[in-house]
């Protein structure tokens, strides 16, 4: 479903990604691992369309999307939960969701019909629907960021450290929801994660990045977190 081939990207003159090759099949969950600063977030941003690639090919369902602006990619079915969650602080929970529904191409979202399943999935958000995004706790914001990506009915969801700075009970909740959206909705996941246990509980395959390129890949069924830990330790 997602095929990344030979992709490179730069900040100004410094090349931060080179020769990235990565695939995610429909309904699959893949973890992207690596230390801080190796380019994981940049890779996600490049796939989403927020950072320009300067080499290679990105295909989604056989369409070459590398030249498309971010909103077109979102409308093709790529959802994004950014690092730091990216909630609009002055918009209410409901309004945040409504912006997320922009990727339902060409039709006006109905907040009763489109938002209802997400309020079922995240009962916390239903209670907070008229609160401003900026006053929510980190865990609530993370749930909102997930719901906001899901309301656009993505077929591939990119998650950038969804458990960063979040209390354990919410991490479990997020794990449950990610499992649910894979099994119930068949959404594929590409997950950037620091916590290996969390990554292993969700993903079937993994990639490890070092200095802007992919150095190792494997399946979580045959290898344990200990096998990749040396590549990630500081």
């Amino acid at each position: 479903m997602l095929v990344v081939e030979g992709v490179g990207a730069a900040y100004g003159m410094s090349q931060v990604l080179s020769e990235i090759a990565l695939t995610v099949a429909a309904g699959e969950a893949v973890a992207l691992l690596g230390r801080n600063g190796v380019g994981k977030t940049t890779l996600l941003r490049t796939i989403v369309g927020l950072h320009a690639a300067n080499a290679g090919r990105i295909a989604f369902d056989d369409d070459d999307i590398i030249r498309l602006p971010a909103f077109r990619r979102a409308r093709l079915g790529i959802g994004y939960v950014p690092q730091g969650r990216g909630i609009f602080p002055q918009l209410t929970v409901e309004e945040n969701l409504s912006v997320g529904a922009s990727s339902l191409d060409g039709r006006k979202p109905s907040m009763t019909a489109d938002a209802a399943p997400l309020y079922d999935l995240f009962p916390t958000l239903a209670r907070l629907r008229s609160r401003k995004g900026g006053v929510l706790s980190g865990g609530e914001q993370q749930q909102l960021a997930l719901a906001r990506a899901l309301i656009g009915k993505p077929r591939l969801l990119l998650l950038d450290e969804p458990t960063e700075g979040i209390q354990p009970s919410i991490v479990q909740e997020i794990e449950r929801v990610l499992g649910l959206i894979r099994s119930e909705l068949g959404v594929a996941l590409l997950l950037v994660e620091q916590h290996l246990d969390f990554a292993w509980s969700i993903a079937g395959r993994y990639y490890v990045m070092q200095r802007g390129t992919i150095v190792r890949t494997g399946t979580t069924a045959t290898e344990g977190p200990d096998d990749v830990a040396p590549l990630l330790s500081v």
Binding site: V48, G49, L50, P69, A70, F71, A74, R75, Y80, P82, G86, F88, P89, Q90, L91, E95, S98, V99, G100, A101, S102, S103, L104, D105, K108, R148, A149, G152
Partner: protein, 303 residues
């Protein structure tokens, strides 16, 4: 004419000037707040609105002409703004200095075009009969004080437009996307919002409102090729004092600046009142560098 009526009259003039400033500044505040674009040709949108009003009256006559002129001025300048956004401004995003120079060039071209078409001397727009009366408040301390119909109309027009813009931003789908893009453009983009279309709509709305300001202005002053220039500086002051991208701030700042210059002119000359105004703005900016309402400019520090 007593002292009170003189002051009241100037105060009223100040508020009507403030109304035009508000309309002129609304578009600037919107497009700078959202797109970080400084449009030097914004003053010429006033000028264009004025000439479009003049043409409408020439075609449709005195009575209906002005009403048609308001619509033509809004639609015409909005369309021109859209054209400008697509052909020029969109290509210069993230390059504020280039945008500044390019739009300044557009401003010069438009001024010269107006000079070639309409001549260097202004054209007069006579107020339609339904606006030419006055409201007088006789029999009170305000004896001798009367409100000209055109000035009252300008104030009402500005209030209606401000209300409409506020409603669009607070209640419509477009408004929601405007607020989202204002807070976090990349995320809005990644969520599927067509941010370029939002930019285009905001820019066209802003220039259209400036066209309306020009239409209103034509009621109280002749329309000249450089009429925009005399208002654009004040409009920029309003945006800066008001705080970026805040409607409330823009409203308060327009009132302050309009009333300030009108009342200062009771005591002194036009140019000295400008000196005083600029001094006050400079001092004000020392204490509140982000303007009256600073919430909207958070995006500036984060980028």
């Amino acid at each position: 004419m007593s002292e009170t009526t003189l002051v009241a009259g100037q105060l009223f003039n100040g508020i009507s000037v403030a109304s035009i400033l508000l309309l002129a500044a609304l578009g600037l505040a919107l497009s700078f707040g959202l797109m970080r674009v400084i449009n030097m040709a914004h003053g010429e949108m006033l000028m264009m609105g004025g000439y479009l009003t003049y043409l409408s009256i020439a075609v449709f006559g005195k009575g209906a002409g002005f009403a048609v002129g308001l619509v033509v001025a809004f639609v015409g300048t909005a369309l021109f703004g859209a054209l400008l956004e697509i052909t020029l401004i969109r290509r210069l995003y993230g390059r504020p200095l280039d945008t500044l120079l390019a739009t300044w060039g557009v401003s010069l071209i438009l001024q010269q075009a107006a000079r070639s078409i309409f001549g260097p001397i202004g054209v007069e727009v006579t107020a339609p009969p339904w606006l030419s009366g006055t409201l007088s408040l006789g029999g009170t301390v305000m004896t001798g004080f009367s409100i000209p119909g055109v000035r009252a109309f300008i104030i009402v027009l500005a209030a209606v437009v401000l209300g409409a813009v506020a409603l669009i931003i607070a209640r419509t789908r477009l408004g929601l996307l405007i607020r989202a893009v204002h807070e976090n453009r990349p995320i809005a983009d990644a969520l599927g919002a067509n941010t370029r279309l939002v930019d285009l709509a905001v820019f066209a709305l802003g220039t259209g409102v400036a066209g309306l300001a020009g239409s209103a202005l034509s009621l109280i002053a002749p329309v000249t090729p450089t009429v925009g220039q005399s208002y654009i500086v004040y409009a920029f002051l309003v945006v800066i004092v008001g705080g970026l991208g805040s409607l409330t701030g823009t409203l308060v700042a327009a009132l302050l600046i309009g009333v300030f210059s009108a009342t200062a002119q009771i005591a002194t000359s036009q140019s000295f009142s400008d000196v005083l105004l600029l001094l006050c703005v400079i001092i004000f900016m020392q204490f509140r560098p982000r303007g009256i309402v600073s919430q909207g400019s958070r995006a500036l520090e984060e980028t």
